[in-house]
């Protein structure tokens, strides 16, 4: 049975969403409501355009010449692609059959069955871990830390390639206390961490919270140093540094 996907938009020639040159598919629908989200239009489940996975795969493959020469591929982002796990699995399987490298970017606040459905069709997981304190996490995003950690553990147990991504947001997780808590919690997963500095590019956009979320380089450096003290490898510029 073919399941359709609801797509917010496709962005070609991305350099930030995994290795090489990537085509990122922003899918519709997210369980979280992060106040700094730059794509609030992708949060609701009902919007976007409906696409058949095979048809979408054909369109995505138009950039294949650039993926092949850069080690790139397709990244499903969102929204959260795992909220459309059946369609995403079909799309990723189709791309995998064509030899395309596949990333999925998830906030982890999804049914465990969705994670199970994608384990065999994802080459690299980009798994968000936004805050170590359950109360702060819930207040800012609506997420449940325990649920996210259970899904993260499931992916890691499968032996999948995984990178933990931390959006570093002013007023949310930019303090040494938050870094320390993060390092203690994330260190248990033994996965490399990529720090993503918050930016204010979307602040003029409708629906985006007007609060500043960008942090300066010293915050990123401080956070990274803290993680390193706990033996956590940092992923930077597409290379992993201990």
């Amino acid at each position: 049975m073919t399941t359709t996907l609801r797509i917010n938009r496709i962005q070609r020639c991305c350099f930030h969403d995994g290795p090489g040159i990537r085509t990122t598919v922003f899918m519709q629908g997210c369980a979280l409501r992060c106040w700094w989200c730059h794509n609030p239009e992708a949060q609701v489940a009902g919007g976007g355009a409906e696409r058949a996975p095979d048809d979408l795969a054909q369109e995505l493959l138009r950039d294949r010449r650039f993926w092949d020469r850069s080690g790139g591929g397709v990244t499903l982002s969102g929204g959260d692609p795992l909220l459309q796990a059946a369609g995403a699995a079909q799309l990723l399987a189709r791309l995998g059959a064509a030899g395309v490298h596949r990333c999925v970017e998830t906030a982890g606040m999804v049914p465990v069955a969705a994670v199970e459905a994608l384990l065999d069709v994802v080459d690299l997981w980009l798994f968000d871990y936004k805050h170590a304190d359950p109360a702060d996490l819930r207040a800012a995003t609506g997420a449940d830390r325990g649920h996210i950690e259970a899904n993260l553990t499931r992916v890691l147990e499968s032996g999948a390639d995984l990178r933990i991504r931390v959006p570093v947001i002013a007023g949310f997780n930019d303090t040494p206390a938050a870094w320390e808590a993060h390092a203690q919690r994330v260190g248990r997963f033994q996965a490399p961490v990529e720090l993503l500095p918050g930016h204010d590019w979307g602040r003029g956009k409708g629906g985006v919270d007007p609060r500043r979320c960008s942090v300066d380089d010293t915050v990123i450096a401080g956070f990274a140093a803290c993680l390193r003290r706990y033996g956590i490898a940092i992923w930077e510029n597409e290379s992993c540094r201990p």
Binding site: R12, F15, F66, S70, G72, E238
Partner: protein, 714 residues
Amino acid sequence: MQALSQTIDARLAAAQDHVDWQRAEIVVRAWPRCAECHPAERSAGVLTAILAEIDLDLETNPMFAGATGGKPGHIMTMPEYGWGADGQARIEVPDLCAVIDAEMVPTAIQDYIDQNGFGGHHSYGHLAVDLERVVHGGLARIIAACDEHAGRGDADAQARRRAMATACRAVIAWAQRYAEGAEQRAARESDPLLAARYKRMAQACRRVPALPARTLHEALQAVVLCHLAQHIEGHGLSVSLGLLDRVLAPFADEAVGNSPDTAELFEAFLLAIHANGVHGRFSKTQCVTIGGADATGRDCCNATSEAILRAFDAVRVPDPHVFLRWHPALNAPVANVAYDMLLRGVSMPLLVNDVPTVAGFERLGIATEDAWDYCVIGCNELGIPGRACETAMGPGAIHINVVHAALCEELAPQSLSQWIERYEMRVEQQLRKQVAGFVAQRDRHAQERPTPFTSALMYDTVERGSDCANGLRYRTPASYERGLSNAVDAMAAVDALVFHGDVSMDALRAALRGDWPDESLRQRFLAVTAWGNDDPQIDAIARRILDARHRAGDRVAAALGLPGLLYCHVVRSLHHMAGKTLGATADGRHAGEALGDSLGACSGRALAGPTAVLGSVLTLDPARDYGGGTNLNLNLNPQGMRLDHLRALVEGFFIDGGQELQIACVSAAQLRDAQCHPERHRDLLVRIAGFNARFVELSALEQQEIVARAEHVC
């Protein structure tokens, strides 16, 4: 930048644009003495007089002799052609035009122009001579060849040959004047380093360009003198420096390691070429081409290739500009230097792919070994040094104009097919007139304004006794096009909204006549997917337009006995000029707005990002569609981009058949900061469409276009 280069650069920065009447005064005096001669001998006689009298500039650049005027920043005057400001200069450097417009032409010169002016402000340019014979043969050998063939051919051929020899002697004598001047300058110089430089300059000028160069310095000195002599002879714009690294290959050992001395040499060389104005700061588009393969597939890079690139990176002058010929086996270190420069926002080198380019020349019957010698001869136009230089023919088919005219015929087209049929008919009429006009114009140039020195540096011309305007080995007239992206967008929008939608043709034509009075209607036309988004349906329209253009062009070429036409899509600032005189068009463009600035998407319409632009362009067949060259502007957001990303973009495009790329990795924020603080960004080079410029020196119009382009990058 080396210390000497900094000194030269500071002198150039301090120079004020000014009109220099000296060349014109000499021409006015010398012309009557030669009036009764054969036109080629008259040209040679006038050149002899100019080079015997024109002020020497020994102060600006103590490394290389040669200047088109006594001090930098001058506007050279060529009354044989006329006087005034180039139309493109008016767009690109309006404050320079104010200098020209304010100038009172001396009476004697104005009288001369009235009686003898050929039209325009300079000769046709867009050529590349055979620098091999300049550097490794020497002008004395050309003079000997002229003597050897003296009695052959008719009186016209014999006169042209005599003129070539005279012109070569004039250039040698000019070099001797510099040698003498440099010796005197060395003698009175107290700084021993500077004195040594002048002595070396003097020694070089005693030898070259008369005799073969023995060192890298002598080779570059020979190139400077012969290059500037072509400008002085009358070719004001787009005199290319050809395949410079190949010419310098015998001296590559001197460039290994790119020592400070080598770097100083190349930097001073580029500044010497840069310093000599035709229209002051207005770019002369003097192109250096490096890299590439030969007919056996062998990569032709050598140590000078990298040294040339590094010198361009160091001096950051907008003109000359540099093209790197890419091919699958391109020397990796050279490629990496190039990608690194582009990633850092240098906007050079421009890149051109050997494979489709050579195929394009071969398609027109050009011999394989000649085709592999191609270079860029102007902004982006392609030619073969000394053998084929007719790519730029001036006005050609402006696709959107033709498409618009076909739409506005009394009985409007009822379908896309009918519209394209009418386009084809109109293009054929236009090409028939223009190509014949171009051929006649080149013949008239050869007859009335021959350039014997430039001709002497071409293949076959001495043997034939011919002028380079119409006597090169290959005669390849071109159609010089613009506005393809606008034409495709207009046809796509009308097809969707008029032929298959709810907008009546009458309503559309009324909207175009009124310059889109209903903005909501215009927005509907703008909302239709445009060229440059890798949409197969839209891209198929481009294919249909170009197929129609081919059919028309093939009929025109056959009627003139030509193997075909070389088509160019090169914009420079002509998209502004063309847009100013064109009313509103069905692509949603307002009357007077600029056309698309390259073969890529129109400004603001590449919504699917840069790889989609490349995808659309890859649906074209460059060898057939644009064998004479294109410009494809590709703006990339430098944030997060690494060298391997850039390499993958370039190689992905070229391996799949793309022809040309001009990459700009400059953010809109950086450009806006340069607008606010020009003093901090003097070295910020940007690629416009067919030329490079210092961003802070551009007109407000051009600056805004560049900022808008950067803002639309995903």
